[in-house]
């Protein structure tokens, strides 16, 4: 069962590719990056020991192209593949293709992934293992669904059986909406996942999203590394995650961890996985298993003093899932995304003209960004994860507020100020956590007026010359050109920064 690995292909990009490369090196492996034409100059390409172009910018023809990635692995002599998260990470056929090519897939076996990837099947496994699930049914016939709805009461939530990460979810507030919502959801699910099956669940009023990190090995052992609270979500996308879950009693924690372990054992799970639950009052309900490394895994690492990617590699090479160290302190992560929080969070792109990265005690920034990096419209907009540790939640929280205060990024519109305001808020301080947190407290968020004033003054200074030595990204004026800059009206004072 032991297999000594030597070279790891990382089938991903961005911050997670870089993060995996770092731990692979720590584990003693050579690394192979793969990249699309749009990513030729990206950080993960420069960081690996080898880099292989696998296709054009379109993910379908590069990061989602199983054949191209397996070919790259064979070409480079990689004996293992780490899929990261997203892209092919939960595709059983990818894990199978790796196995067929005698390459170790760093994740669960294909059949486990297939069983857990289907929400309906995963739900059945949970029920069989005695793990509570949200009351709900597979939506087959409208009349049966209507009857069920009348029984558990509105609002309800409709989900795609093959979906994940909140995609394809919709809430139905009243009976009149049910039929059209079911039709639309089925069509959307079919279009998005090639699988039109949907199911209907009771919608919880103030649920918290709590998930359990676990590791299973090939020797039959499964261990849990505590929980994460990921209740702060915007449109079902997590933006702030923490561990431990504030206010969760030891008894509840033990119950939920017990359920996750039962489930993982029932599924014969190997490698890293996460069982997601909704928690309301003294009840908890199984949601789904994410059969891969999660975006938010660093909060667990900081609390447990471990490296989950190293553990994944250890398990993949036949090693044992270690008994975790006792957790310590608290950790909170926030996701800095390329999006415009002042304009409905529409995606943003651009070139990084300046980047200030926070540092010091208890601060970790996982990111592929650097000055000059380009954020393109081709892939998701996660720019980096800022994670802070503290001896307790309040220390971690204030550290995160301060670290966000040290963060500065010019050239790509992003949500850092929005995150700062959330983490600094009384509601977050008081841990008023539910998946409706954003809708309840931050739906009408606006940037502070005094910050806009400061920005206007800063713009006037910048218009008057470069503020310092940050170069313009646009085409420079031809020397001696007569073209009048639209900023000339403000240009009535000298350069403030130093000339060098």
């Amino acid at each position: 069962m032991e297999r000594r690995l030597t070279k790891l292909l990382v089938a991903n990009r961005g911050e997670i590719a870089l993060r995996i490369i770092r731990s692979a090196r720590l584990f003693g492996l050579k690394t192979v990056a793969v990249y699309s034409a749009a990513d030729a100059k990206s950080a993960h390409v420069g960081a690996a020991d080898e880099a292989i172009l696998i296709g054009p910018a379109e993910a379908a023809k590069s990061y989602l192209d199983i054949a191209a990635i397996i070919a790259a692995a064979k070409h480079s002599g990689a004996d293992a593949i780490h899929p990261g998260y997203g892209f092919l990470s939960e595709r059983p056929e990818f894990a199978q293709a790796a196995a067929d090519a005698q390459i170790v897939f760093v994740g669960p076996r294909p059949e486990v992934m297939a069983a857990l990837g289907d929400k309906v099947a995963a739900r059945r496994i949970a029920v069989a293992a005695g793990v509570p699930v949200v009351p709900g049914i597979e939506a087959a016939e409208i009349s049966a669904t209507r009857e069920y709805a009348a029984l558990v009461g509105y609002p309800l939530v409709i989900k795609a059986a093959a979906g994940g990460g909140g995609r394809g979810m919709r809430v139905v507030a009243e009976a009149a909406q049910l039929e059209s919502a079911l039709g639309a959801a089925a069509r959307e699910a079919a279009a998005a996942f090639g699988d039109g099956r949907i199911f209907v669940e009771k919608y919880l009023a103030h649920p918290r999203h709590i998930e359990i990190q676990f590791l299973g090995d090939n020797h039959g052992a499964v261990v849990a590394l505590g929980e994460r609270d990921c209740s702060i979500q915007r449109r079902h996308q997590k933006i702030i995650e923490e561990s431990p879950a504030p206010g969760l009693t030891d008894q509840m924690r033990a119950k939920i961890i017990g359920a996750a372990l039962k489930l993982a054992r029932a599924a014969h799970y190997t490698n890293a996985g996460t069982a997601e639950f909704l928690v309301e009052g003294d009840d908890f309900y199984f949601l789904e298993v994410n059969a891969r490394l999660q975006v938010e895994h660093p909060v667990t690492e900081m609390r447990f003093g471990c490296d989950l990617v190293c553990e994944q590699l250890r398990i993949a090479s036949g090693g044992k899932a270690p008994e975790p160290a006792a957790p310590r302190g608290a950790a909170i992560e926030c996701r800095i995304n390329a999006e415009d929080p002042e304009h409905d969070f529409r995606p943003a792109t651009g070139t990084v003209l300046h980047l200030s990265v926070p540092g010091g005690p208890g601060v970790r920034f996982d990111s592929h960004l650097a000055r000059g990096a380009e954020v393109t419209p081709w892939y998701d907009g996660l720019l980096g994860k800022l994670v802070c540790y503290g001896a307790n939640r309040e220390e971690a929280r204030v550290r995160l507020v301060n670290a966000l205060g040290e963060f500065a990024l010019l050239g790509v519109t992003n949500n850092a100020a929005y995150l700062r305001d959330i983490v600094a808020s009384g509601q977050f301080r008081d841990a008023k956590l539910s998946t409706h947190f954003i809708d309840s407290f931050f739906s009408g968020w606006e940037i502070g007026k005094s910050e806009i004033d400061a920005a206007i003054v800063a713009a006037a200074i910048t218009a008057g010359g470069a503020m310092g030595d940050i170069p313009s990204d646009g085409p420079a004026l031809p020397a001696g050109a007569e073209r009048r800059s639209p900023w000339d009206d403000l240009k009535n004072f000298e350069l403030w920064g130093s000339r060098r």
């Binding site: 200030s356 907009g381 966000l404 010019l410 206007i456 713009a459 503020m467 310092g468 009206d489 403030w496």
Partner: protein
């Protein structure tokens, strides 16, 4: 000098009144602000307004000025372009791509009569879909893109002409 913030057509009327060393007075609308700017070696600086210090960075890009104030980032443009366009009666007459991306759906054809709020185009960027809608009733004059096409930030996707039934409101296309 008038500025606008990118994505926001409200004009900001700002003017540098005076400066003396690091001291700068700026008028914003009918308010005056006294600020003190201290450059830092890293290319940014500290702006002090009302005793509060802000870490700021600034850069120019094409006809924009980008600044950051702590973690908040801002893009300003001179208001001239926008007001010139409005002066020519073109407000809401063009549906413009708010970011680079792929045209996923075009929901109208030339000659269609559309209502305020009606979805016209869906663009996909970074795995997210954005629906662009009509700001007011109008007639579709020209559809400039087709489904599956990649478009740049700022590309004109659809041209509209005023609907016979209603006058064009003096505001910009909005992203819903």
């Amino acid at each position: 000098m008038k500025l606008t913030r990118a994505g926001d057509l409200r004009e900001i009327d700002a003017e540098v009144i005076s400066r003396d060393g690091g001291a700068i007075r700026v008028r914003i609308g009918d308010r005056q602000l006294a600020a003190e700017f201290t450059p830092n070696a890293d290319g940014g600086g500290v702006l002090t307004i009302d005793g509060r210090r802000y870490r700021v960075f600034g850069a120019r890009r094409k006809d924009s000025i980008l600044v950051s104030v702590g973690p908040a980032s801002f893009e300003f443009k001179p208001a001239e372009a926008a007001s010139r366009r409005r002066a020519r009666g073109l407000a809401a007459a063009e549906i413009i791509a708010p970011m680079p991306g792929k045209v996923l759906m075009v929901m109208v054809r030339e000659g269609d009569l559309v209502e305020a709020g009606q979805p016209l185009v869906v663009i996909e960027a970074m795995k997210m879909e954005t629906t662009l809608t009509a700001e007011s009733a109008a007639i579709v004059k020209h559809v400039r893109v087709e489904e599956g096409q990649m478009v740049d930030h700022g590309a004109v996707l659809i041209e509209l002409s005023p609907s016979p039934a209603s006058s064009v409101r003096e505001s910009a296309p909005r992203v819903e």
